[in-house]
């Protein structure tokens, strides 16, 4: 299995469910690393769909949002879907204030998100 420092990945077919190892996604070097690890899920591991589970994430900066936009573009280019779930209230608010809730498909629970991918759990 690939060594990953910023994310933990579970795959079902071509869907990767990702959890973040950091509680705060704010340090620029870590954000770069996280971005690279997510990119390689698409490029190297040929994952088509990605679910980002934000459980345990307490903070993210605008630089992290910028990186997520890049990942979203990447996944869409590869013909897949990116979904987000389990955002704590304050992080959800960041997406609402910036209107990024219109760019990203955000679901409340992992179950709901998986269902949107057509996976019944």
């Amino acid at each position: 299995m690939t060594e990953r420092r910023r994310i933990t990945v579970v795959t079902i077919g071509d869907l990767a469910t990702v959890r973040f190892n950091d509680k705060k996604i704010v340090d620029s070097a870590s954000i770069e690393e996280m971005g690279a690890e997510l990119m390689s899920l698409v490029d190297k591991d040929k994952m088509k769909h990605i679910l980002l589970n934000f459980e345990g994430v307490e903070f993210l900066s605008s630089a992290a949002l910028n990186k997520l936009i890049l990942i979203d573009k990447k996944v869409k280019q590869a013909g897949g879907n990116l979904r987000l779930c389990c955002l704590r209230e304050e992080i959800k608010e960041v997406f609402t204030i910036t209107r990024l809730d219109r760019v990203f498909d955000i679901r409340k629970t992992e179950k709901e998100a998986l269902k949107a991918f057509g996976v019944d759990s």
Binding site: D27, S62, I69, L70, E89, V94, T98, R99, L100, R102
Partner: protein
């Protein structure tokens, strides 16, 4: 600001380093927590502080080793005051495009100042744009207070 009884203040000059900046903001968050702040109030201050610090270090001082950022924080139970001043050439916040406009929505930059404005109760930049002063009035009482 005279009327508040500050429980904690910090006034220092830091190098143009994001790492050092994160550490100083950690101190602010600890002081806020000790003063009873939590939930979205704490989160909002953290967000504004991180974005302002990163802008001062990167856009303002362009991470130059010769330039410093002056930071001033004050914390009370009900109010937080934050000031960041860099030694860069400044900018005009009013000229920034609105990142929530349809045409900018998927851009991968340009949300920091917007978030600062929306997270804090009062935000003002000096004429030059190399100093931002902000105040957060606490909205919520925490459950256990």
């Amino acid at each position: 600001m005279e009327e508040s009884v500050w429980m904690w203040t910090l006034h220092e000059t830091m190098p143009s380093s994001k790492e050092v900046g994160h550490q100083i903001i950690e101190q602010l968050l600890q002081a806020l927590t000790q003063a009873g702040w939590d939930g979205s109030d704490l989160f909002h201050v953290q967000m504004a502080a991180e974005e302002a610090m990163i802008n001062a270090v990167t856009h303002g001082n362009q991470e130059s080793e010769q330039l410093v950022v002056e930071v001033e924080f004050r914390v009370s139970k009900q109010r937080a005051y934050l000031r960041f001043r860099d030694q860069g050439a400044g900018f005009c916040p009013d000229e920034l495009p609105d990142p929530t406009d349809e045409e900018h929505l998927e851009k991968t930059h340009g949300r920091g100042v917007y978030l600062i404005m929306h997270m804090m109760s009062e935000v003002s930049y000096n004429d030059c744009g190399n100093e931002v002063t902000m105040v957060k009035n606490r909205q919520l009482e925490s459950a256990d207070s």
